[in-house]
């Protein structure tokens, strides 16, 4: 029993007695790829040899690159130290291979990240909420100790060092590798996420230039494809500073978490406020609707981007006079005896059939209005000059008179 326990301990903390070189390199790389994949799934970044943080969503290769940078940093530093300090003929493949295998506690650790709440969202005066943090954080600490013990033993075996030479050089090497990995990740990975690349700075295709509706649609498409740099091309400088790629990525991930996957969008509507043009695009997500609002200046630059939840019950208040203008006119239908006149009273849409009292229409969906007292629903198709009237199961198609 004692021997079995000791064997389990050896496999957990010092498997390098049995595995090193190419074999451990292959196993280690496979396990690192798995940890990167789990990180990709729960947005946990490996932003340093010993670091793991929940942050923005990114593509899988970003997480893989971070893991590789961490591994190469610690392996390279310890290999150089080994060459300088060890009297044995050490092999690079043993150092890199054992350090790769030593990173496998990152898999349970990155899974555990799901259970660690974001401190920003916590009420720190609430004891229960703190308990929810302490337990997973303690387990995480144990994982880190285990991980460091593995790296230490990997270094000890692959470089054949003992005593204070081993301990001091390992601590120094770990600190050095942590700094190196932070610099490399900062330069390479962060640059890939934040800095616009030259080809993507070549603004919009000529046919989209100056067309605010197309730009707004393009932003939505880019967000949906998670091409955040592309989405921010038309932003003015203030917007680029206020809403950088990492914020946009976090915002879009958060939106999808709350509202589900994006499904479709309705045709954009526009309104003008002074020199600003505002484009509204109603976006349907799995669990709700958001009304994307993009504000442009006179240079066709985006100066505001908002995604307020779509609230049909309060929409009558939100519909502006300018938005109602596209519906106004006299509508007639060969199958309906009366003409219907649509006018507006400020931001209220008013309908009136010939010789009948007027009635106020209530907005309930994109281009759709209703008058509940009469069970009447009107749907406008402004670009075709059409209006569809639905009442008591009957449908009448009206045409706007010129």
């Amino acid at each position: 029993m004692g021997e079995r326990e000791s064997q389990i301990r050896t496999w957990l903390f010092n498997p390098f007695i049995y595995i090193a070189g190419f074999k451990s390199l292959l196993i280690g790389i496979a396990l690192m790829a798995i940890s990167a994949w789990v990180g990709f799934l729960n947005n946990s970044h490996f932003d340093g040899v010993l670091d793991m943080h929940r942050a923005m969503a990114a593509q899988f290769h970003i997480f893989l690159l971070e893991v590789v940078i961490d591994w190469v940093s610690i392996s390279l530093v310890l290999f150089v130290l080994g060459v300088i300090l060890s009297k044995s003929k050490i092999r690079w493949i043993d150092v890199f291979g054992t350090q790769a295998l030593a990173r496998w506690p990152m898999i349970p650790a990155v899974i555990l990240m799901v259970f660690i709440p974001d401190v920003k969202d916590m009420d720190l005066s609430d004891i229960q909420s703190l308990n929810g943090l302490i337990v997973p954080a303690t387990v995480m600490l144990l994982f880190i100790i285990w991980f460091v013990a593995l790296m230490f033993n990997a270094y000890k075996i692959s470089c054949n060092l003992t005593g204070s030479k081993l301990t001091i050089s390992f601590i120094g090497g770990l600190i050095l590798a942590e700094i190196l990995s932070k610099i490399l990740i900062g330069q390479i990975v962060f640059g890939m996420l934040i800095l616009p690349q030259k080809d993507q700075l070549s603004v919009l295709p000529p046919e989209q230039k100056g067309n605010n509706v197309e730009i707004a649609k393009g932003i939505l498409t880019s967000l949906n494809e998670e091409k955040y740099r592309q989405a921010s091309i038309a932003f003015d400088d203030n917007m680029k500073n206020a809403f950088p790629v990492r914020k946009m990525s976090a915002f879009w991930s958060g939106t999808k978490m709350q509202y589900g996957e994006f499904e479709k969008n309705m045709e954009p509507t526009t309104s003008n406020q002074g020199e600003h043009e505002i484009i509204f695009i109603l976006c349907h997500f799995e669990k709700g609707k958001l009304n994307m609002k993009t504000v442009f200046n006179d240079k066709h630059e985006v100066i505001g981007l908002f995604f307020p939840p779509y609230k049909p019950q309060t929409k009558t208040i939100e519909v502006t006079e300018a938005e109602l203008k596209i519906y106004l006119g006299v509508y007639s239908s060969p199958s309906f005896p009366l003409k219907v006149t649509i006018t507006n009273d400020g931001d209220k849409l008013i309908g009136q059939a010939t010789g009948q009292p007027s009635f106020q229409l209530e907005y309930f969906e994109e281009h759709k209005f209703k008058y509940d007292q009469a069970g009447l629903k009107l749907e406008f198709i402004p670009n075709e000059n059409k209006m569809i009237l639905r009442q008591a199961g009957q449908v009448f198609e009206f045409k706007r008179e010129p």
Partner: protein, 90 residues
């Protein structure tokens, strides 16, 4: 009973030498003053390791396979034996 060859003097801890050798077939005894072979300065595990290492034609890879240990572990064992031999020589 597996008797252990004494290497150090129990009185002053100096390295022991061989004074007498006996033929257990005809009882002939040879007296003189001989040094112990270098390898006897190693413990039995290290002596076994050296024997296996020579049998494996000095290949650490073959040794690692036979002992089911990793290459650097076997190399470290060898380095440790070399150090002991150097210390004994010194």
């Amino acid at each position: 009973m597996n008797k252990k060859l004494p290497l150090e003097c129990p009185s002053c801890s100096s390295r022991l030498k061989v004074k007498s050798l006996v033929c257990d077939t005809c009882d002939t005894a040879v007296n003189g003053m001989y040094d112990l072979p270098t390898l006897t300065g190693l413990n039995s595990d290290d002596q076994l390791f050296i024997t296996e290492f020579v049998k494996a034609s000095g290949s650490l890879k073959v040794m690692a396979q036979q002992l089911k240990l990793s290459y650097p572990t076997v190399r470290n064992l060898l380095d440790s034996v070399i150090n002991k031999l150097k210390e004994n020589d010194g």
